[in-house]
């Protein structure tokens, strides 16, 4: 009920947003600073059983070796994959004061081996999304945003793609929209929708790099599915690389 009136208001908001972005303001301010670092966790994640892929014969065949939930993955040296690192303004707001037009190429979300690839990703508000089903089984993509318009559709056959453009994609900044598959309950993806392009997801060794950041004071925010989010203050100058490591506490 309140979810439904959010959808209508956000639809109107996104339309006005798109109009505004197009018309007056110049393109977002880009800079030359970069921020790098490692995200690690102190302590062990709570043990979880491997995913019961036997629920769907296709998924069992696609994953011969047991797969554990992606949120529980932690490297030997304690660093974390799938952590989402992004920039916030000094006073903790997502909007950095200038308008950034979303990049042309779409954020592609692939469903292969009964898992979402990428598991965690970021996008600029208004960027088109391309949902692809490369599995030979039926997937049902169900997004659960609070500030954006939700979508819920099936892709029963291999190779089906759907482009979510303009009003259908996520147009309002919202950190971590959860996308799940109704048919395979363990499948989940987290999409960070930001008004600016300064974000990265940690991969091997928990490293992240954020480039062409304009100089100034910011907050570096880290989000992870399993661990408590954290924000630290940083200050960058033009052409300079800042190294920052963040250790996440237990939720």
């Amino acid at each position: 009920m309140n979810n439904r009136c959010w959808n209508t208001t956000s639809l109107v908001a996104s339309l006005t947003l798109a109009l505004l972005a197009g018309s007056a303001l110049a393109d977002g301010k880009m800079g030359t600073a970069t921020v790098k670092g490692k995200i690690s966790a102190d302590g062990k994640p709570t043990p979880g059983a491997p995913i019961a892929m036997g629920a769907d014969k296709f998924c069992l065949a696609a994953n011969p070796k047991p797969v554990s939930p992606q949120g529980k993955l932690i490297f030997a040296d304690g660093t974390l994959p799938y952590a989402f690192v992004y920039i916030k303004s000094a006073d903790g707001k997502l909007d950095l004061g200038s308008k950034y037009t979303p990049p042309a190429e779409a954020l592609e979300i692939d469903q292969s081996g009964c898992m979402y690839k990428p598991h965690v990703a970021g996008m600029v508000a208004g960027q088109t999304m391309k949902i692809v089903n490369t599995d030979d089984t039926n997937h049902n993509i169900h997004s659960l945003p609070t500030k954006n318009k939700s979508f819920n559709f099936s892709q029963p056959k291999k190779g089906m793609t759907k482009d979510l453009v303009s009003a259908e994609t996520f147009n309002n900044p919202e950190v971590m929209v959860h996308i799940k598959c109704d048919v395979h309950p363990w499948m989940s993806a987290y999409i960070g929708v930001l008004p600016h392009p300064f974000f990265d997801t940690t991969k091997k060794g928990g490293e992240f790099t954020i480039k062409n950041l304009p100089a100034g004071k910011y907050k570096l925010a880290v989000w992870h599915e399993e661990w408590a989010p954290q924000e630290i203050d940083i200050e960058v100058k033009d052409g300079e690389t800042v190294e920052k490591d963040v250790k996440l506490a237990k939720k």
Binding site: M1, N138, N152, F153, S154, P156, K157, M160, A167
Partner: protein, 595 residues
């Protein structure tokens, strides 16, 4: 110019037409208060909805026969994205599971609430019943017009729901909570239902008052043709069974829009998070209220068809109906019993033995009046002189088809056999046997039988037979294999049956059913052609082309505003055929015997 002797040709009625000043086209055809015009409006609208519901089913049949293949002809149209957030039924030409559910739910709703009820009660009831009781019009003409103009928006809202953001209703025509409260697309369905229920309610009041108050002099209750009795009992079912569903519809609308939890139990976990509803409701409350309506509803579907079949059989066997009184008492008993039988649809919801015993017993008892009516109709054939014209063909085919429909209800009415057969294709075969070759054959018989009275021209016989035989054969090729699939354990409402062992085993049957359904679609073309062309090119007829005895044949065809030229009186029973010692083998009710 005594209207008495039937052979006096129809020239008499021309010089009377100028008596009434001519209404404008709008008042005469669109906002008319003439029960005949409203009857025709209902009939045409209902036929359009029936064919639309039929096309929805044909798309589903494609998906069941070859799952995952591109739908021919309509595949690309269904995949078009009309606007952002539009739920299209198919992508890349392939039907989606939500599309399949939407088609299934709307097929059921359109066929039952927008097709058969308006045709059986709105169309035939409005047109034929006042004529058969010798009344000039319905008791409340304006209320009658209003019932159509409340029905039409309800129907249009149902159609518009396909294009609304949430898409059409996707939780079956039964719209069980909590699924129907969670799923998108149900709000338009509920609003449409409230319109339809109000329209049926107003219509039924009109029927009952007309039948009780406006019968021609001499036409006592037991001289009424059986069709009028069927409409009378149906009107009571509509009057008393529909309001509880309206209340339940309001409650489900509140659950969807105002966040109440009439049907939402506490502790619901939906789409990965705790649901917003406070809980404390009972999902079974919806089922109780829905089936409290829906079982009398299925008798609303079958009784008018039985009425039409009785009329056509009596007329074409040239013999009075056998056991007319037992049929009338059986129809009334059927109407009463239909209110205390509803929970046999809910055996599997976890019923205690006491409650299921009660409902099993009442279900067994309710099968007896249907057997009585059926046997009475069959025995009426004995000793007759049967004419095999098109209405009679449909009426005769109704009897074995309704027999199969009724018999297959037995294993579903007993809890133990229901364990295996509940919610399988057996159930679909059962109720479709009663509704498709049952009620719709009755409707076709009625259309062919009363078409001359409505338009003054006869429908073509050869086209009629060309319509009957393929439809009769296809009906059986569609619904008998469904009974087999049900026994094999194939669950209903499955988008892609090949996932299940029973589905794979019955894929050949699915293909056969689908092909029969599409062939049957082609078999309807002669009927459509016949229906529209005969209005102009059909053989002109006088008042009584079928040499029938009931009162509606005393009025000229098409009857003018106010129906009868002279006030008709009933002097005898409705079906006095082949009276001994008279030249004509029929003696109409209104004819005064010169003794």
């Amino acid at each position: 110019m005594s209207a008495g002797h039937s052979h006096d040709h129809g020239h008499a009625h021309d010089d009377h037409a100028h008596g009434h000043h001519e209404l404008g086209f709008i008042r005469k055809w669109i906002f008319s208060t003439d029960h005949k015009v409203i009857g025709m409006q209902y009939t045409v609208t209902a036929l359009v909805f029936l064919f639309f519901g039929f096309t929805l089913m044909m798309i589903m049949r494609w998906q069941l026969a070859n799952p995952g293949h591109v739908i021919p002809f309509v595949g690309s149209m269904l995949s078009k994205q009309l606007y952002a957030g539009y739920m299209n039924l198919a992508t890349e030409g392939v039907l989606l599971p939500e599309g399949y559910n939407a088609l299934g739910a709307m097929h059921g709703t359109i066929m039952v609430f927008l097709g058969i009820v308006p045709l059986a009660v709105g169309g035939f009831g409005n047109f034929v019943m006042p004529l058969q009781i010798g009344a000039p019009d319905m008791a409340f003409p304006k209320l009658n017009m209003m019932s159509y103009w409340v029905f039409l928006p309800g129907g249009l809202i149902m159609l518009a729901s396909f294009f609304m953001p949430g898409g059409a209703a996707q939780s079956g025509w039964t719209s069980y909570a909590p699924l129907s409260v969670i799923n998108p697309g149900q709000t338009a369905w509920l609003v449409g239902m409230i319109f339809l229920i109000t329209s049926s309610l107003l219509g039924s009041i009109n029927f009952i008052v007309t039948i009780i108050h406006m019968r021609a002099p001499g036409l006592t209750m037991f001289r009424l043709p059986f069709f009028v009795w069927a409409q009378f009992v149906t009107a009571f079912l509509l009057l008393l069974a529909f309001p509880p569903l309206e209340a339940a519809g309001v409650m489900q609308l509140m659950d969807r829009l105002a966040g109440t939890s009439f049907f939402m139990p506490s502790g619901l976990w939906v789409s990965g998070k705790a649901a917003e509803w406070v809980g404390g409701g009972s999902p079974l409350l919806w089922q109780h209220l829905f089936w409290f309506l829906a079982h009398p509803e299925v008798y609303v579907l079958i009784l008018p068809a039985m009425g039409i079949v009785a009329e056509v059989i009596a007329n074409n066997t040239r013999k009075p109906l056998w056991g007319y009184r037992s049929m009338v008492y059986a129809a009334a008993f059927l109407g009463f019993m239909s209110f205390i039988v509803w929970a046999h649809h809910m055996f599997m919801t976890g019923m205690s033995t006491k409650i299921s015993t009660f409902f099993q017993t009442t279900t067994m008892i309710i099968s007896i009046p249907s057997v009585i009516i059926l046997t009475a109709l069959v025995i009426s054939l004995w000793g007759g002189s049967i004419r095999f014209n098109t209405p009679m063909l449909f009426a005769i085919a109704f009897l074995p088809m309704f027999a199969i429909g009724g018999l297959t209800g037995l294993p579903l009415g007993l809890t133990s056999s229901d364990i295996h057969l509940h919610d399988t294709y057996y159930v679909i075969g059962h109720f479709h046997y009663v509704v498709a070759p049952g009620t719709i054959f009755g409707m076709f018989a009625g259309i062919y039988y009363w078409y001359p009275k409505a338009t003054g021209r006869m429908m073509n016989e050869t086209l009629g037979k060309l319509h009957f035989w393929p439809t009769f054969i296809c009906m059986n090729c569609i619904f008998f294999p469904m009974l087999i699939q049900g026994m094999m354990g194939l669950s209903r409402r499955t988008y892609d049956p090949n996932i299940y062992q029973a589905g794979l085993a019955s894929l050949k049957l699915h293909k056969m059913i689908s092909w029969s359904a599409w062939i049957m679609a082609i078999a309807q073309l002669p009927f459509i052609f016949n229906f529209f062309v005969s209005m102009f090119a059909g053989k002109k007829v006088t008042e009584n082309p079928w040499d029938s005895t009931t009162l509606e044949w005393a009025a000229p065809s098409p009857p003018p505003h106010g129906n009868f030229l002279t006030e008709p009186k009933a002097h005898r029973d409705p079906y006095v055929y082949s009276p001994p010692g008279r030249k004509d083998d029929f003696l109409p009710q209104h004819v005064v015997l010169e003794v």
